[in-house]
Amino acid sequence: MSMSDFREEVIIDKLSRCNYVLMVGAGKGGVGKSVISTLLALKLSSMRKEIFLLDLDLHGSSIPSLLGINYVVKESEKGFKPYEYNNRLEVMSLKFFIEDKPAPLRGHYKDYVIKEILTLTNWKSKNVIIDLPPGFSNELLTIIKLVRKANVKRGHLVITNPSIISAEVVKKYMTLLKELGEEIIGLVINMAYMKYGNAVIRLGELRLGKEFQVLAELPYIPGIDNYLMRGVIPKELDKGLKPLISKIVPLF
């Protein structure tokens, strides 16, 4: 008898001990998945929720930069230590292993990398926020497979911007999630508007079908990365996040 992959056994065991896994995705790049994952992690950890923020964007890792983290992974006897941003927010990213080098990984190697990192990362937080990369490939399919096998409570937050080309991809992404039997907790339209003085300028108009439940519309904030690097959530964005936070808090 053989055991197909001992790493999967360990990951499933770890995930099964978690309370909730929130996957933040879009299928489309550049819509703000990493920014929203980071905002949620900062906000929820400030509300005394324990968060493990996992950056699965192997090629375009952004979370470490957004949080101003410059960390090279350390190992304890129980495995890789995630970066402790504060006492309720742990972060793990491939960037902590390879710094700024590009990762030219074919699909099956992405699986290996994800499994190696998750097998040996020793996180303590009960709630996991996963920042997914663009695309419908290994990262998405592998994490869904593992989370399902762990039978942990889970949901997907889907992000779009207000452009038609983004919405087209995001609709396909949501169709795929539904076909996989995954629960979508809501759709967020990011960069939906910006404030200029007292004026509110809409940055696009999406006509989505009634089946798309829009949970929140968030403003475009110029220089958002500079705020996040200092751990600051701009006031307007904090206001926009409220319906999202109200939805997630009972789950966490």
Partner: protein, 140 residues
């Protein structure tokens, strides 16, 4: 240190496997790819030391070291870890003896740090001997 966490993860997986399938594991054969740069003796010691914690004291562990072989997707060249090891480790650590490096932690990151010796391509496969694998389990 990595050998200790690998041993712990492996034993946890075997213990879960035994419980889930309601079996008593007797013998486990492990394959250790050279690329992972695992200290076989240290891994063995750690497994033996920790096995009791997971109720696996009776299990006989056997280790098979596997030579790592690469094949370039661009030019088809085939090469072995032994041919490039020292150069890769010097590049990563400046030292070929004491070198904790990302490939040791995650062998699948080979493409980040290694290039085809013939055409310098980063697009290659590890066709054999990548990392630690469970080759077989005997149980009753």
């Amino acid at each position: 240190m990595h050998e200790l966490s690998l041993a712990d993860a492996l034993l946890k997986a075997l213990s879960n496997y035994a419980v889930r399938n309601n079996v008593r594991i007797r013998r486990v054969i492990l394959g250790i790819g050279q690329l992972a740069q695992v200290d076989k003796d240290l891994l063995k010691d750690n497994i033996v030391t920790l096995a009791g914690v997971y109720g696996l004291d009776d299990v006989k562990f056997e280790f098979k070291e596997e030579e790592t072989i690469f094949k370039c997707n661009a030019c088809g060249h085939v090469w072995r870890w032994g041919e490039i090891r020292d150069e890769v480790l010097r590049g990563l650590c400046g030292d070929v003896v004491e070198c904790d490096n990302p490939i040791h932690y995650i062998p699948a990151l080979a493409n980040v740090f290694i290039r085809c010796p013939k055409c310098n391509s980063l697009d290659f496969e590890v066709i054999k001997g990548q990392g630690l694998e469970v080759l077989s389990i005997e149980y009753e």
